[in-house]
């Protein structure tokens, strides 16, 4: 059988048809009518911003760990436990930065205890055990992956239990603790690049929107109200269109986020 070289070339050209080059500019207000802007938001984990901070100079992470967090017991109603759980997972990322094996293992156990209190223990058992196992072996990249996985599994389990709002609160709790640490670090050793890491307008808008859109039982919970107010106070400090965040603003963000983390972990 003879191959027709022209047909072969045509087929090859069809397979390797060059795709058009990307547009140099994207104008969200002028997208083609059939375009779709995806509403789903993936919240960065604290270790993403910690990784960026690490490149600016090695912070002394060990001094930033809230050691009482891993010993804490679940208190209050479901919204508070969800916020605490997020904050504890964030604490795990701080302990990983400090490469503190025992603290990370305690946090693995605390994640189990809080997940149990909120009815999602089953979803997170394997992750918690892996956190403890990898911490023992000092495989920090793996621990980071398992903390991220624990956060994801807890949230997915909550969504399956029709508790999407609680899943949002877990994210907010983690974000607040991560932000407190970053703001504390950059306000005490200020640099423009470091402070710029606090410029997160899209995330702040998203958190305010999701918390504001919750059912009144959750939206009007005393702690949720406090968190919503705190987020509203942080938003102008974290910069608008301009990514610059001043040392004074960073200090204020640290204070607001710190107060909220304290409120989250206090008895009602």
């Amino acid at each position: 059988m003879k191959l027709n070289p022209l047909l072969f070339l045509a087929a090859a050209a069809a397979v390797a048809a060059p795709l058009p080059p990307p547009a140099q500019q994207l104008d969200l207000d002028k997208l083609p009518s059939q375009s779709k802007v995806i509403d789903q938001v993936v919240v960065p984990v604290p270790s993403e911003v910690f990784a960026a901070l690490d490149k600016l100079g090695k912070p002394r992470w060990a001094g930033l760990i809230h050691r009482e967090a891993s010993k804490a017991k679940p208190v209050g109603e479901a919204p508070q436990i969800a916020l605490m759980l997020g904050s504890i997972i964030a604490e795990g990322f701080i302990a990983v930065e400090a490469e503190d094996t025992e603290e990370v293992k305690d946090i693995g156990r605390a994640i189990l205890s809080f997940s149990n209190a909120i009815g999602v223990r089953k979803a997170v058992v394997r992750r918690a055990n892996s956190i403890i196992e990898f911490a023992d072996k000092k495989k920090w990249l793996k621990v980071r992956g398992e903390l991220d996985g624990a956060l994801n599994d807890v949230r997915e389990a909550m969504v399956e239990l029709n508790s999407e709002s609680l899943a949002h609160l877990v994210s907010v709790g983690g974000w607040l603790r991560g932000t407190e640490v970053v703001a504390t670090l950059v306000s005490s050793d200020y640099s423009r690049d470091g402070a710029e890491l606090l410029h997160q307008p899209g995330l702040l808008e998203y958190f305010q929107r999701t918390l504001g859109g919750m059912k009144s039982r959750l939206r009007d919970h005393a702690l949720t109200v406090k968190v919503r107010k705190g987020l509203a106070d942080i938003r102008p400090l974290a910069g608008g269109d301009d990514a610059r965040v001043s040392q004074k603003s960073a200090k204020e963000i640290a204070a607001i986020a710190g107060d909220l983390v304290k409120a989250i972990s206090s008895k009602p």
């Binding site: 500019q25 995806i38 992956g145 710029e196 899209g202």
Partner: protein
Amino acid sequence: MKKILLLAVLTIFATNAARAYVDDAHSRAMEAATPQAKQGFLVRQEYWAGTLATKQPSVVKHQLFKGNTYWFWLGSDEDSAQVTVHIYDPKGNLADAEAWQKGNKAAVKVVPKVTGTYYISFSIDQSKAKKNRWALAYGYK
């Protein structure tokens, strides 16, 4: 005998239910991520996913931090699909540091020059299917 039959039927149901949760589009995205995962990029567990018509451009907004390097990986479960992905900075300028596409997988690398909200633009440029399942994952280092 009845008990054995019942067990067999339940096993088949359980297996099918488990399979239903496998996201093939995400699996393709993870295949695209393999080289970077080996280089120490932390691949996030959470990802974006949905269905798209062919040639329907889509945009995801995401917070990126200056100092990190990111890769975004796009996959589709449709074998005939040709997918593309690119990234734009907060001012809407193309910010691809590197990009590739191969059939139903594509990826883009970005080294953010500023911290802020970036726009990941993607589309299914060609496909035999009318609707295509897609998944977009990312990793950082």
